[in-house]
């Protein structure tokens, strides 16, 4: 087994590992980053090609698609809400839902991790989110506050070239974003008009999809389909942003195809090395610092199997998911909802925790032109039933008319989870 030593060893290259690596090299350290997957190049993502709807989703490797081992059919829904059933105007009635969907663990194996498939949403926490328990009786307070994180938010946003517009009254006051906000597409504008009539806001969504060139990269080309991988290399996934910047320092070594199989423990119980498997051989590497950035499932799993960092007995507990409810609607005329970033606006009016609200955590609302699986022409053609002249006419009338309205709430952290 070969042995190497670095100042710091970072495992994982997504939002956590990628930015940790950048921070460490900017502090002057020599860093090794271990990534289980490979590098992707924009040209291999489907939307780099005219027939993108027929191409395989290269970020969905069988390994990345491995689902939870928990045979959870989803919790029974409160019968009071059974009337909120789904009916598809594009095809046939879909009936009532009696259970929520099962746990869906979405991740990407590759340099950049899950930032390869994220839609670029780059939100700062609200200041009230750090004192949620003491102010609202929900969740837990943080040991730090917004002001302590603010300079780090600014630093990360500059690297990401976040596009946005200040002036969100539901967030702390802030200066301008690194790049201007994306203009609303027609369906987002329509949703914003509807929200305004209800007295709600619908504000530009901060997005790590720069509207101006950052670090020599292309600016966002408004292609949509960010979850397929950015065919223009514009989205600020960590491989294109933080890691690219860190590599230019000359102090970051990246090893792809390197799967960490265990962490080594010294006699005093501290972490004392990482064993990774690459090209058929096992290798050991040591650092003065270690960062595990494998995500909310894999990081605790690796620590558990290595019998590390669990003196509190809390490792793997307090797991939190997002809870999402969505409603897909069809407008009467085409609104080209596929143009531009998938989620261009959000309504924050209900984002504060509320004990008597429909979701105790508070929730945000948004609109997406492509979240329902209706994106390009082939997806519409598939969902419209039948064939022949009627189908062709239906395509003329319905293509570009579908959008999804959604709400996102938050799990309360619980020791019993999972």
């Amino acid at each position: 087994m070969s042995r190497e030593e670095y100042d710091a060893v970072v495992v994982g290259s997504g939002a956590g590992g990628g930015f940790a690596a950048l921070g460490l090299v900017e502090a002057g350290l020599r860093v090794l980053l271990l990534e289980r997957g490979r590098r992707f190049v924009p040209e291999e993502f489907p939307m780099a090609h005219a027939d993108w709807e027929r191409r395989p989703h290269v970020l969905r490797s069988p390994e990345a698609q491995a689902r939870s081992v928990v045979p959870d059919l989803g919790a029974e829904l409160d019968p009071r809400w059974r009337h909120l059933h789904s009916r598809s105007l594009l095809s046939e009635p879909a009936g009532y839902l009696t259970r929520r969907g099962p746990f869906d663990y979405q991740r990407v194996v590759g340099l950049g991790g899950s930032t390869l498939h994220y839609d670029g949403e780059a939100h700062r926490f609200a200041d009230f989110g750090f004192r949620s328990a003491s102010s609202y009786g929900f969740g837990a307070d943080w040991p730090i506050g917004y002001r302590e994180l603010e300079p780090w938010y600014e630093r990360a946003e500059r690297v990401l070239g976040v596009a946005g517009a200040p002036g969100n009254p539901f967030k702390p006051a802030r200066g301008p974003y690194p790049t201007p906000a994306h203009p609303f597409n027609a369906v987002t504008q329509r949703a914003a008009e509807g929200a305004f009539r209800l007295g709600w806001s619908m504000l530009p969504n901060p997005l790590a999809l720069p509207t101006l060139s950052v670090d020599g990269r292309s600016r966002c080309r408004r292609s949509g389909g960010c979850h397929l991988g950015c065919a223009f290399g514009a989205k600020s996934s960590t491989d294109r942003s933080a890691l690219a910047r860190a590599e230019r320092s000359g102090r970051l070594a990246i090893l792809t195809g390197a799967r960490v199989v265990r962490l080594l423990k010294a006699r005093d119980g501290r972490l004392d090395g990482v064993v990774y498997r690459r090209a058929g051989g096992d290798h050991r590497v040591r650092g003065r610092l270690y960062v595990l950035g494998l995500g909310a499932v894999e990081t605790p799993r690796l620590l558990m199997v290595s019998e590390l960092a669990n003196a509190s007995g809390l490792l793997g507990r307090y797991f939190m998911e997002l809870v999402i409810a969505s409603l897909t609607v069809r407008f009467e005329r085409p609104l080209a909802p596929y143009v531009g970033p998938p989620i261009q606006a959000r309504c924050w009016d209900f984002s504060r925790p509320a004990a008597d609200g429909p979701a105790r955590s508070g929730f945000v609302l948004g609109v997406s032109g492509t979240a329902s699986g209706h994106h390009g022409p082939a997806s519409y053609a598939s969902s419209i039933p039948g064939i022949g002249r009627e189908h062709k006419q239906a395509m003329r009338e319905r293509f570009g008319t579908v959008a999804t309205l959604f709400g996102i709430a938050e799990h309360e952290p619980r020791a019993a989870s999972p």
């Binding site: 005219a50 509207t211 080309r221 408004r222 223009f232 022409p377 082939a378 039948g386 062709k392 003329r396």
Partner: protein, 169 residues
């Protein structure tokens, strides 16, 4: 490999009892053992036209769907089997309706027959599988082609910024 798969399709068509299928459905003699004609382009045109017919805008045939469909069948034994079985079902159904084969029907009649056979209440699993395969193939090929896009006003990405809102302008 490709040659072998094409041979499989032809053997499947030709090996049905007495070559009945081949003669009955196409009005042609069954292929002799070892003969390797291409998948029946004309018959696939009829299927493609039934799924996306031409009208005041081009249909699947004019969009060049059929050559790409043939290519995909040649490379896929499972798909070749589905299409061969579907052909038999459609021809038999056409004869049941006193038509002189699938080709003798009008475009609208072929659309209706294909949907009845593959998507009707009495559709067999085999017919259903063929229908879904053919429908998915033709719709997918047509609506990922520039000809298909023009008919519904779709412009592929990248998309321009509205000039009035162009960042940095």
């Amino acid at each position: 490999m490709r040659r072998g798969r094409r041979g499989f399709l032809l053997r499947l068509l030709g090996a049905l009892p007495g070559g009945v299928l081949w003669r009955a459905v196409a009005g042609e003699p069954a292929p002799e053992a070892g003969a390797e004609p291409a998948p029946d382009e004309r018959w696939l045109e009829l299927v493609a036209d039934a799924i996306v017919p031409g009208d005041d805008t081009p249909g699947a045939v004019a969009a060049g769907v059929v050559p790409r469909l043939i290519e995909s069948i040649r490379g896929d034994e499972h798909k070749a089997r589905l299409y061969a079985g579907g052909r038999a079902l459609l021809e038999a159904a056409a004869h049941e309706r006193n038509a002189d084969g699938f080709a003798a029907l009008s475009t609208d009649e072929r659309s209706a027959l294909l949907r009845a056979v593959g998507d009707g209440a009495k559709a067999t699993p085999q017919a259903r599988a063929f229908y879904l395969q053919a429908r998915g193939d033709v719709l997918g090929l047509f609506y990922t082609s520039p000809v298909g896009w023009r008919g519904i006003g779709y412009q592929p990405p990248p998309y321009a910024y509205p000039s009035a809102d162009l960042p940095g302008s």
